[in-house]
Amino acid sequence: MFKKILIANRGEIAVRVIRACHEMGIAAVAVYSEVDRASLHVRKADEAYPIGPAAAAQSYLNIEKIIDVAKKSGADAIHPGYGFLSENAKFALACVDAGVKFIGPTAAAMEAMGSKTRARQRMEKAGVPFVPGISKGLESLAQAEEVAARIGYPVMLKAAAGGGGKGMRLVESREQLKSSLDSARSEAQRAFGDDEVYIEKAIINPRHIEMQILADEHGHTVYLGERECSLQRRHQKVLEECPSPVVDPEMRRRMGEAAVKVAQSANYTNAGTIEFLVDQQKNFYFLEMNTRLQVEHPVTELVTGLDLVHLQIRIAAGEKLPFSQEDIRLRGHAIECRIYAEDPDNNYFPSPGKITLLLAPSGPGIRRDSGMYEGWFVPVDYDPLLAKLIGYGTDREQAIGRLSRALNEYFVGGIKTNISFFRRILADPEFHAAKFDTGFLDRLLSRHADNPKPDAESQAAAAIAAGIFSALGADAAGRDERAATDGARKSPPASNWKSAARREALS
């Protein structure tokens, strides 16, 4: 087993991996950018190394600096978390060169699955269903028109290197095709430095369901059940659950076996996720593979009783999977909410700043994976994911009940968060009935004024409380704390702004 692991990440996922290391008796090495010195992952690590300015390109994405820290600290493995370098084949190769184990798949497996068009070609060979369309980049408008006519409108244009909805266009008719193709190409070029765009049939109101797999380095691959990830806002996942309310054991077996086939076709090792689109007739189509740990892995952990990060580490250390497919049983139901620093009053615009008060939920069936703390200044430079709140229950109804209860306990003062949005989702009758698809949240948000009519009593309580807070004045306010902690930078240095990193497109 490894003695020391470097975590090439920040935020909640760095904390989550550090915890796994400590649980296994392994020392954890943190790296941090200038604005992250007071971050939770640095507090919790056994060693911590500065790696440069806030801009991710100069710190968390800087392969050379991270490899350098690995050598200096004597780490024998690197966990990349998600985002940043986690799906970067060059980084995986650089680890090999440096004699440090990369906790994830090989560079070759990453490259095999990294391009959507190449992955589609592979699926075609392996006989895994994927959305009708082409498996190569479009060469011309004429070709696009020909394929679209063959598979039928509406069609979807997608960037081969894509993610996060960028370079993606829904085309309803032939008339729209040219301008959509042009704009998809130029957006793909800007976002990924690659204008390859392919075409596939648009699935109307699909569900997005993904299958978790684990593969050891001795040829054993298993699937750990699916996750329902249809609740997305602007193509970003917001809430995920396990199991999917629409997947029955037979469908799970078929999807799982297809996922294992996908992984094996790429000689895939370690943890990975195969994403599927599911149409209204419950046909599923291969969408893409994420060659890393997912943000939403906790729902699988709660329902299988396994720890995916422990298992990632064991697999990377050369251990065999300690179970076979028959041993894996789903029990109960788990739902995850991604808590973001976002302003619900302002179209969910990011809301960085100092956290002046933090009330954190706990109790039965509640797991909280967090990267924030009271007094911390949420930096403006990175993805605004603060924490994940996961509810487990004997069944879906109990999971919803526990999560709703926990969301009522959750409070973050000083900045705005999307917590109230989750309360709205969990109270929605169609969500309770599990009637949703990937367009559900955007429709929910467009129904502007359907806030639950507040009862007069609680509204009067709010009025009285507002008066009391005014009467008590500064003494009652959390934001005027006397103690000047270093976690709270009163004002972010202006230089951060010059180099603000792009919000990571995570799914």
Partner: protein, 164 residues
Amino acid sequence: MIYDVSIDGHSYRLELNRSDGQWTCRLDNQSVELDAVLARPDVLSLRIGNKAYEVKCERVADDLHLWVGSVRYSAEVRDPRSLRSRSRSADDHGPRKLTAPMPGKVVRILTPEGQSVAAGGGVLVVEAMKMQNEVKSPKHGIVQKIMVKEGAAVNAGDVLAVVE
């Protein structure tokens, strides 16, 4: 002490007095049996009659929200006899300050000084995490003053401009 309180746009007249840690309270001229304990800064445990409420106070820049159980209310409080008065109510008279809704960088000025702007019209653009946000004028008027330059880093609550 008398307060004019507005909760999600609904106005209340609130009379509050405290002696010996006990509150007396009248809401819209109705007497209310009130027992309040500040559990932590910004967290009140209220008993109104025998009903219990935990109320949390969310203060971000000039925005005030109160969380009562699972509901989040926007709140405004005006204390007619105090300087702690705060109001963003629809008073169209006098100059109005535009403040930054969150820390960020001013990337563009849309309406320069001296030009007129409609109610809801954009005055400048603030960016954080590569997302851009228009700061809008609450009223029709003239942009009297722009306090920041393009490229400036600003904090939540900083005054960015004044519309007269």
